[in-house]
Symmetry: C2
């Protein structure tokens, strides 16, 4: 389990390279717009912290990701002048593949079930270091810096709503928030079509859903499942889960563009859809790498 | 002419009610996203400062505006618990009329040439106070707080690009920036179809364009012209003007949505279009109240 000190230490490491995102008033709550990070997602925080703490990165780094972690690792690697090899599943939106290549990374497109294997092969071939998308204490500590900022900026904070997939973001945020403000409720948000963590918390143990079942949601960055490490943090710190429908997610994407002037991807709007049901709190807008054609359809409707 | 002290004083007054917008890396420069203010535009800063400094506001406030100043005054009035009457020209985009009403203001729609007269009549009838959109020292000082923040956040600042219409925004920003950092270039941005200030600076005197000539641009919030007060600030402090085509403005709107995850209205993207030509500097994204159908068309293209 990571500690508040790990998160504070990560904050010092990443501060020069991330945007200190403000809290934006939104309805009866607030938004934490992590879609405004340079790669368009909170993932930059964890990737920067993990890469900065690597003891040996001379042979480069490897990551597997459906998108935002890919861009985050590519960005962090370029910043530190090391080569990055990114393995992406063949159902990744084109906009995310292109953005990763534009950051100077070498991209390998594989079938969704082969990505971990291919990433491990690259690590072995090259002597490179793997930066996992969520299953690593340094990655979790980096994401947790969002929790530090929210607590610092909003003395009246009563709840934080955080999207869940692999669980790295909520593990870090919950660790920071609960250490500083045990009275604040930390609430996970999941698409109903990928609500394995909601089911796990009800069952009191980690329940695994088939990847194809989780892949049904339009929230393409929320199709992962927790690791033992993130599940331990979630079980310890998360108070509740709110699940949302696909229509609610898409409505939140449109509402963010119209009322908050923010471009969010469906995964990035899941916590906002949950916040609408809760009626208060800070919602983390986790990413903004939406397919422009999808956003155009939602705005024209 | 306003002073740095006026701007600093405004900053203290408005700080509790405005978003402290961050600088976002963008291409080889930075963005100052004022579209993320509660009403979707920088105008909130000036309106809040002007309203807070009114000696007598018991009978309410009156404003005339094509949109963003209207919402700003309505927001500030609601915050201070005073009634607001807003006169809007009949070519105002519907989204801005609706947003102003939603903030609790009474809206009067008139022909574009009648708006000042109607506002003055309301002031006389009600004993209310007029808050002009730019021709007032307190409004200018409020907008200038953006300049303070940019200087504070970016020690390596070399230039600031600011859209110009009535000139309140650039008057305030230039006053703050030049007082603190005389070496920094303050550059105005105008649509070529409403480039009366560019022509005025070349001529060395205020050149007035017919309102119908200025009204050709898609940047509907940039169809005003300077007052004697704002012209005095512009002549003193502004180093240069970059003019942009309508296509460049619309391309900047699309680029902001795709690459910076920001929703901007055409007027709000004019400085970004100018920044693209300059190749550096901080561009003020002044507003985000775009017609959703227009943004949808630009994203689908």
């Amino acid at each position: 389990m990571i500690s508040l000190d790990d998160v504070r230490s990560a904050a010092a490491v990443i501060a020069p390279h991330v945007v200190r995102t403000p809290l934006l008033p939104f309805g009866s709550g607030w938004l934490k717009p992590e879609n405004l990070q340079p790669v368009g997602a909170f993932k930059l925080r964890g990737a920067l912290n993990a890469l900065a703490r690597l003891e040996d990165r001379a042979n480069g780094v490897v990551a597997y990701s459906s998108g935002n972690h890919a861009q985050a690792v590519a960005f962090a690697a370029r910043l530190h002048g090391v080569p990055a090899a990114i393995v992406m599943p063949d159902n990744t939106p084109a906009v995310k593949v292109e953005a990763t290549r534009a950051l100077g990374a070498e991209v390998f497109i594989v079938g969704i079930t082969e990505r971990v294997e291919r990433a491990r092969a690259l690590v072995a071939e090259r002597g490179a270091a793997l930066i996992p998308p969520f299953d690593h204490p340094d990655v979790i500590a980096g994401q947790g810096t969002i929790g530090l900022e929210v607590v610092e900026d909003l003395p009246g904070l009563d709840s934080v709503v955080v999207p869940m997939s692999g669980g790295g973001l909520i593990s870090g945020v919950a660790t920071a928030v609960k250490a500083l403000r045990p009275d604040v409720r930390v609430i996970g948000a999941e698409p109903a079509l990928a609500a394995d963590i909601a089911e796990s918390l009800r069952a009191g143990e980690l329940v695994r859903w088939d990847p194809l079942r989780r892949a049904r949601t339009v929230a393409d960055a929320l199709r992962d499942e927790p690791s033992e490490l993130t599940w331990a943090h979630i079980r310890e710190h998360v108070d509740d889960v709110i699940t949302v429908s696909e229509d609610e997610v898409l409505a939140a994407v449109a509402d963010l563009a119209r009322s908050a002037r923010l471009v969010a991807e469906p995964s990035g709007a899941v916590a906002v859809a949950a916040q609408a049901k809760l009626g208060r709190g800070v919602a983390v807008v986790s990413g903004g790498n939406v397919d422009p054609a999808l956003l155009a359809r939602l705005l024209a409707a």
